[in-house]
Amino acid sequence: MRVLLFSIFLFSSFIIDAKTLLIGNNYFYKKIKLALNDAVNGDTIIVEKGFYKEGNIVIDKSVFLLGKDFPVLDGEKKFEVLTVKANYVTIKGFIIQHSSYAVLDDPGGIKIYNSSYVTIQNNQLFDNFFGIYIQESKHCIVKDNKISALIKTEQEIGNGVHCWKSDSLQIIGNNISGNRDGIYFEFVTNSIIWRNISCNNLRYGLHFMFSHNDSYITNIFKNNGAGVAVMFTKKVTMMNNTFENNWGDSSYGLLLKDISDSYIATNKFYNNTSGIYIEGSNRLLIEKNIFEANGWGMKIQASCMDNYIEKNNFIGNTFDVSTNGTLVLNTFNENYWDKYEGYDLNKDNVGDVPYHPLSLFSVIVENCPPAMLIYRSFIVTLLDKSEKILPSLTPENFIDNKPLMRAIKL
């Protein structure tokens, strides 16, 4: 017992031993770098409100770096602002701005090198080349930050949250705008992207490659140059996200390229040129999504196989679906199509006539895009109607056998 008490006392004395260093004009430490020099692992550094131009600040100890009333750390367009090279670092409550610009080393507002358990929370990053850059790190949390940049050309600006070759990251509740890609994932596994808002970025709201076993949930991707791209990945979960207002010739709400074994559910695709564009993807389950007011609700290329598209609402899209070939290896079932004109005699909410969602005109436009000019002309309506009754040009097995009569409540 005595030994136990003693050990508890000994242990707690270690915790108490961690000291707090205050930085500001009225304190002993005027500069963050000096305090960092004197700090040891476990110390807390509190930075008072002020304007700090200290070049590149390297954090190589496990410290809590806390800003009081948002002190400003400025990189003067010459330095990377904060560099983290230690585990268990927390950075909280700063305004971090004007990092340098360099194509070779990709400097960032905050850059984490080979570290674990780093938390970056409640900071405002403004006009940096990269906002937060995480490389070869594990178990890091990026939470509630506001990352913005002035719109320039794609070459002049980096990504908002850039993650490379990492594992078990949590990107939560950030607000990202005006960067090249809002969130960039490459070789990042077992991570979650949750409750972020990524809008007005030059290229993608979320750019996602070779990142297996990740989830992104309840994010909003809006007004991005080319929407969201998810590529070369397996086992991704995409739920409850909103993809909105991504307009342009090669712009998609969600671009899926070579994705397999993934789950896409309860997302909302609103007002995009194409809601989802799927290419070379296998074994996806796409269910309970809303496709509304898109040019194309879903463009599913003939290179896709064994995908299940079930229980989605297709409402007010110019074209609900389109494809580029006659081979159909995907299954459509129990979706609601607002263009469906069948009937339901036994009132079980399932239409008695199978529905061909692929209109002749969408096939014509796929083959000859300028044909969009005669959209909604009487001749097109006429052709579409006759094709619906006797399919000749559209693949006959592109069919929803159980179209729903009413939209699914989601």
Binding site: G248, P369, P370, A371, M372, L373, R376, S377
Partner: protein
């Protein structure tokens, strides 16, 4: 001239067909908006009416009316009135009655239910289309003294603009799909008033679908203020050209 116009309008009112047209059009438009759940579908129904029914009624009614008032025209010609005035007041009288029918029947629901910009656009375009087809009716009815032939020409012209033209465009698109024909297509659509009207409205409706490459070229042209101005001018040309031609023939014609 005002008295002639007044007389023509009263005459058209007396014959009740325009009244029936107003009621039918109103029934269509109101039910389009009240039956469909979203206003977009209602707008699309009215778009179809503007592109099909309005031209058909305008051209047929105007042609038949001109043929039927040949005796009235002859009577007027015996008076000391300039021929220009007679023909013009006939045109204005017909236009006013058919336009007010359209405005009352389709205009009010459009203002009430549709988005303001789209609704306004559709009203303006609908009025222009009505007038274009009245002008075409004047031309086809002056071309031949034979009533059956004149009405036949009118029906054929309507068929051509409403149906055949788009078929031809589709055919051309497929024949020349290997070439960059988008810009040429802008010119070709200008040669049909119905296509001009359709594209003007579509650019305000289905923006997302028109964002493809060819759509972008169209949007660049018709979406800009200059393009919008040119498109409206073209529609006005479609009124002026047939009417002035018919006026020229009327002035010289031995009736």
């Amino acid at each position: 001239m005002n008295r002639i116009i007044k007389f023509i309008i009263l005459d058209i009112l007396k014959n009740k067909i325009v009244l029936a047209y107003t009621i039918l059009l109103a029934a269509f438009s109101w039910s389009a908006f009240s039956l469909e759940d979203g206003s977009t579908k209602g707008v699309l129904t009215i778009l179809n009416i503007i592109l099909l029914i309005v031209p058909l009624v305008s051209i047929l009614f105007a042609t038949i009316y001109i043929y039927n008032s040949s005796e009235f025209i002859e009577l007027l010609l015996s008076q000391p009135i300039h021929r220009n005035k007679i023909w013009l007041s006939l045109f204005i009288g017909l236009s006013i009655s058919l336009l007010s029918a359209f405005l009352i029947a389709a205009g009010i629901p459009l203002i009430l239910f549709a988005e303001s910009l789209v609704g306004f656009m559709m009203i303006v375009v609908g009025c222009l289309i009505s007038t274009v087809f009245i002008a075409i009716a004047f031309l086809s009815s002056i071309l031949s003294r034979d009533k059956a032939k004149g009405i036949g020409i009118s029906i054929l012209l309507w068929l051509y603009f409403a149906l055949l033209f788009d078929g031809l465009v589709l055919f051309l698109l497929f024949q020349f799909s290997d070439y960059p024909i988008e810009k040429m297509m802008v010119g070709i659509t200008a040669s049909s008033p119905i296509d001009l009207a359709r594209i003007l409205i579509l650019l305000h409706l289905n923006v997302s679908a028109m964002m493809g490459y060819s759509g972008a070229i169209f949007k660049d042209f018709f979406g800009s203020n200059l393009g919008l101005f040119i498109a409206f001018m073209l529609l006005i040309c479609w009124i002026l050209f047939p009417f002035l031609l018919s006026l020229k023939i009327f002035n010289k014609k031995d009736l």
